[in-house]
């Protein structure tokens, strides 16, 4: 379902300055798995996620997502791939000029879902993250954790087969975080593959799923039923 083979990602800055963000990473995630990606700040977690969403391209190695090799994927096929994937970005990336409702609806509009389905799924999604009464608000009118929850709702509302979440609970209190994790767990039980980068030791320890640990761009641990 997701496969990284000898993947290296280097960010270059100027002629003599480069950061090796991921170094020779090989990881395979099978359909329906729930995987935590952990590691210190700066260890490469977001880079790992950005390569899977094709926001960045690797400098070495190969990546397959949902059976497609990302390097050879025709760019007009990228939207088709993204139909099957939900993303929660570490910096949310909400559209400031759209309401909460419109931000979540957008995920369904871009994949051509019919109006009737959108009008049913968006309110359901907002309700699941506790934001029903914020439907008509704009992102700048929301608290940090509310913005984060809109970005979570947007990611799952199209019922994706793969859910890639980069620190989806960093701005949430423990009990709201538990609510989000229950949601992710439920989506995982319907057969979706979930990959989640997180700093939340509690969540990782309580759920006991596979844990991949990064350190300076290397995979230093890959453990089923792991702890932080």
């Amino acid at each position: 379902m997701i496969k990284l083979q000898n993947v290296t990602k280097t960010y270059k800055r100027g002629a003599d300055d480069e950061v090796v963000a991921l170094d020779d990473v090989t990881v395979e995630v099978t359909k329906g798995e729930f995987v935590f990606v952990v590691g210190p700040s700066g260890s490469g977690k977001s880079t790992f996620m950005k390569l899977l969403t094709r926001e960045q391209l690797p400098d070495g190695g190969e990546i397959w997502v949902a059976g497609k090799n990302l390097a050879t994927l025709r760019s007009w096929k990228v939207p088709v791939l993204r139909r099957e994937i939900g993303y929660v970005f570490q910096d949310f990336k909400l559209l400031e000029n759209k309401t909460v409702y419109e931000n979540v609806a957008f995920a369904l509009e871009v994949i051509g879902r019919p109006r009737r389905e959108i009008e049913k799924r968006v309110p359901e999604g907002l309700d699941l993250v506790g934001l029903s009464e914020k439907s008509r608000a704009h992102p700048h009118e929301l608290s940090g954790g509310q913005q984060q929850r809109v970005s979570v709702a947007r990611a799952f509302v199209n019922n994706p087969r793969i859910l890639l979440c980069d620190e989806p609970t960093g701005n949430l209190d423990p009990s709201t975080s538990v609510g989000v994790m229950k949601l992710l767990d439920r989506i995982n039980r319907t057969g979706a593959t979930v990959v989640m980068a997180t700093h939340d030791q509690h969540i990782v320890d309580s759920m006991r799923r596979r844990v991949i640990e990064l350190e300076d761009g290397h995979v230093v641990r890959d453990q089923s039923r792991g702890v932080y």
Copy 2:
């Protein structure tokens, strides 16, 4: 040192829609105290902090910071006040077109500190948050937690008497978070007043300082040596 008296803050949206973000809040923080502000996502923590930084004005009640009534403060005196206060924003607010070094230096430049002092304090500050080798990077070249740490360094580098931090560890792994808390604790021991909004139950429980809990804009608990 910091005093809120019957403070109310309402955000209006349209003719018929309003959110009471803080409702009749009265709180006094004495010089040198270390106070945690906790509460669920959306409970009013950031609003509380924004009123103290004068980013927002209250609709009711009065606020004093460092002896000055924020409502009657002449706007030309706001910079003088801000000289004594360091802020860590929940959304960082780094300047994208400046390097990490320049972002931190800016906090000293705007209050007119001499070049020699800046050249000494900025590297020290970056070292304290573990970002010495990122001096020349721009914010978009940093991980989420690295951006957060730049914003922490910028807040304390001018040795402020009051430090207002809105969720300064939300994007950090536990061990990096401990590093930031040690820094805040050290600054507090030099006599600075620290007010920190946080969702990190661990940090609050391990430090046992005063805890003010918000719920729907109300203060529901105010406890010295409190837990989350």
